[in-house]
Amino acid sequence: MDFGPYLLLALMEGTVMAAVLALTAVGLSLVFGVMRVVNVAHGEFLMLGAVLAWFVTHYVPGPPVVGFAVALVVCPLIVGGIAALSDTLILKRLNYDPEATIVATIGLSYIFQQAALSFYGPDARPVEAPFNLRIQFPWFGYSGYKIAVVLAAIVILLAIWLLMTRTRAGLIMRATQLDRDTARAFGINVDRVYAAVFALGAGLAAIAAVLIVPIQQAHYLMGHDPLLLSFIVVIIGGLGSLRGTLLAAVVIGLSDGVISVFFSPTLAKILATLLVAMVLVFRPQGLFGAKP
C-alpha cells in the first residue's frame, strides 16, 4: 500500500478513536466542571459498561442487533445508577473535598475492578457487532460499524450540547457549576444535581464502552488507558471546558492514531503524558482554554 492510503487508514482509525475518546472525556469533563471532582474511577465506569454489555448481549436472545440495542440503553442506565449511588453514599459524605474524593474514587476503582474480576473473570471476551458491513475503498475495505460508531458519537455529543445549552436541566447544571451556594439560594437541589451529573458522566463512559466492545474486547483492566487518555484530553482542552475537551479529543485521537501507526504506541503515550504535565505546569487553563 502507498503512503497516501496508509495515512488515510491511520486517520480513519484515529477518527474512531477520537469519537470514543470524546464521549469518555466529555463525561469526565462534565463531572470536573460541575462538581470539581477528579473522578479516578471514570475508566472503571467505562469498563463496567463494557462488561455489562457482554452480559446483556450474551443473554438477550435474537439477532446481535437486538442485544446490542438493549445494551446501549440498559448499560448506561445501570452504570449511571451505580455512579449516582457512589456519589450519595460516599462523595457527598466527604463534602467533595478534592483530596478525599480522589482517594475515595481510587478505592472505588479497585472495588469495581475486583467486582468485574470476580463475576466476569480475567478473560477478554468479544461482543458481536450489531451488523456486518464492509465499505470498500479503492485501496482497502473498512468496517462499516466503525463509521457508525463515529456517527453515533457525533449524535450523542450533539445531544449533550443541546442538553447543556438549550434545556432547563442544562441551565441548572451550569448555574451549579458557576456558583453552588448561589444556586442553592435559588432553590436548586445541589445534591441532586451532583448525583445526576456524576451519573451522566459515568453513563457517557458506559455508552462509549458499549460502542467500543465490538471493536475492542471487554476486559476487567480495560479502563486504565481510556482513563489516562481522558485525563490528557480534559487537561489539554482546559479543565471543565466542554468545547476545549471536544477539540482536544479530536486532536489527541487523530494524532494518537497516526503516531501509533507510524511509530511506537508507547512512545506516543510517553509524549502525551509529558505534554499534559507540561500543560498543567505552564498553561493551567489548557491549550484551548481562553480564560485563566
Binding site: 466527604l94 470476580s118 505546569v281
Partner: protein, 311 residues
C-alpha cells in the same frame, strides 16, 4: 530522654528481637515490610507533614530500584555503590519533578505527579531491551553482597532492612523536632500565613519532596538488592497508591504511622488471601473506609485521644 524517643527505640528493639522469634516466612515478610515502610515514611514526609498529596511516588521508588538494579546488571557495579546511586537517583528525580510540579498545587499537583510517574513507567517499558519491561529481571545472588556479607541470606537481609529502617525512622523523628519540620507543617496548615512569616513555600516544599524522594529511592535501592527482583510493576500506579494507603491507615503526619500501616495492610492482604482472592477489594474497601470514617488513621486517632506527645 523523652517519651517519644523512648517509644521509637522500644519499637526498634522489638524489631531486633523479633528476628529470633519469627518463623522464616514472617521473617522475610517483616524485612519486606520494613523496606516498604521506609518508602511510606518518605511518602509521609511529603503528604503527612507538608500536605503534598502526590500520586507519583512510584517514580521515585522505581528510580532507586532501577538505578541500583541496572547499575549491577548492566554496568557491573558492586552492591554498595549501586545502593548509593539508587538513593541519589530517588532524590534527583524528586528534585526534577518537584521543580516543575510544585509550580502547581492541589488537584493539578496530583495529576502532574501522576503523569510524570506514568511517563516514567512507560519509559521503562519502552526501553524493554535493557529493563525487560513487565517481566523484569532477577539480580544474581553473587552480586547481592557487600564485602563478605551475603545480603540475600535471611539474617543479613533482615538486619540490613532494620538498619535502613532505623536510620530512616530516627531521621524522621529528628526532622519533626527541627525548624525545617515545623516549617513543613506550616505549609500544610496554612501556606499563606507561612509566607507572611517569611518562609519561602516553594523552597520548603521542594526540600520536603527531595527528602521524600531520597527515602523512596533508598527503599527502592534496598528492595532490589535485598529481594533481587526488578520489574516494571513497581513503577506502576499501584505503587504510588500503596504508600498513600499505608500512611492513611497508620496515621498521616505521625512518625510510626507508615510502619504500622504497612504492617497491618500487608498482613490484612496476606491473611485475607487465605479466604478470598479478592485482594483488590480489600485495598479498595480499606481506602474507602479510611477516607470516610478515619481520615486521621490509627495513630492520628490515638494522638487525638490524649497522646498529644506522639510525634
Amino acid at each position: 530522654m523523652t517519651r517519644a524517643l523512648a517509644l521509637h527505640i522500644a519499637v526498634l528493639a522489638a524489631l531486633f528481637a523479633a528476628q529470633y522469634l519469627l518463623p522464616p516466612y514472617h521473617h522475610t515478610n517483616i524485612a519486606r515490610i520494613m523496606v516498604l515502610a521506609v518508602f511510606a515514611m518518605g511518602y509521609n514526609i511529603a503528604f503527612g507533614y507538608t500536605g503534598l498529596l502526590s500520586l507519583g511516588h512510584a517514580l521515585f521508588f522505581a528510580a532507586g530500584l532501577y538505578t541500583t538494579g541496572l547499575g549491577i546488571e548492566l554496568w557491573g557495579l558492586s552492591a554498595a555503590p549501586a545502593l548509593a546511586l539508587g538513593l541519589i537517583a530517588g532524590g534527583a528525580i524528586a528534585a526534577a519533578t518537584g521543580v516543575l510540579a510544585l509550580r502547581t498545587g492541589g488537584v493539578s499537583f496530583m495529576i502532574v505527579t501522576l503523569m510524570f510517574a506514568q511517563a516514567g513507567y512507560l519509559t521503562i517499558l519502552y526501553f524493554g531491551q535493557y529493563t525487560r519491561g513487565d517481566e523484569g529481571f532477577v539480580i544474581t545472588r553473587a552480586a547481592r553482597s557487600i564485602g563478605p556479607i551475603d545480603l540475600s541470606a535471611d539474617t543479613p537481609r533482615y538486619l540490613t532492612a532494620l538498619a535502613l529502617f532505623s536510620v530512616a525512622l530516627l531521621i524522621n523523628l529528628a526532622l519533626t523536632k527541627s525548624r525545617l519540620g515545623r516549617a513543613m507543617i506550616g505549609m500544610r496548615e496554612n501556606e499563606e500565613r507561612s509566607r507572611m512569616l517569611g518562609y519561602n513555600p516553594f523552597r520548603i516544599k521542594l526540600i520536603a519532596l527531595v527528602i521524600s524522594g531520597l527515602y523512596a529511592g533508598a527503599a527502592g535501592a534496598a528492595y532490589s538488592v535485598l529481594f533481587g527482583y526488578v520489574g516494571a510493576s513497581f513503577a506502576a500506579i499501584q505503587y504510588s497508591i500503596l504508600p498513600l494507603l499505608y500512611v492513611l491507615l497508620g496515621g498521616a503526619g505521625t512518625t510510626l504511622g507508615p510502619f504500622l500501616g504497612a504492617l497491618l495492610m500487608f498482613y490484612l492482604i496476606d491473611i485475607s488471601s487465605g479466604y478470598t482472592t479478592a485482594h483488590l477489594f480489600v485495598v479498595g474497601a480499606a481506602l474507602l473506609v479510611l477516607v470516610l470514617f478515619a481520615p486521621k488513621g490509627i495513630l492520628g486517632w490515638v494522638r487525638d485521644k490524649g497522646a498529644k506527645w506522639l510525634p
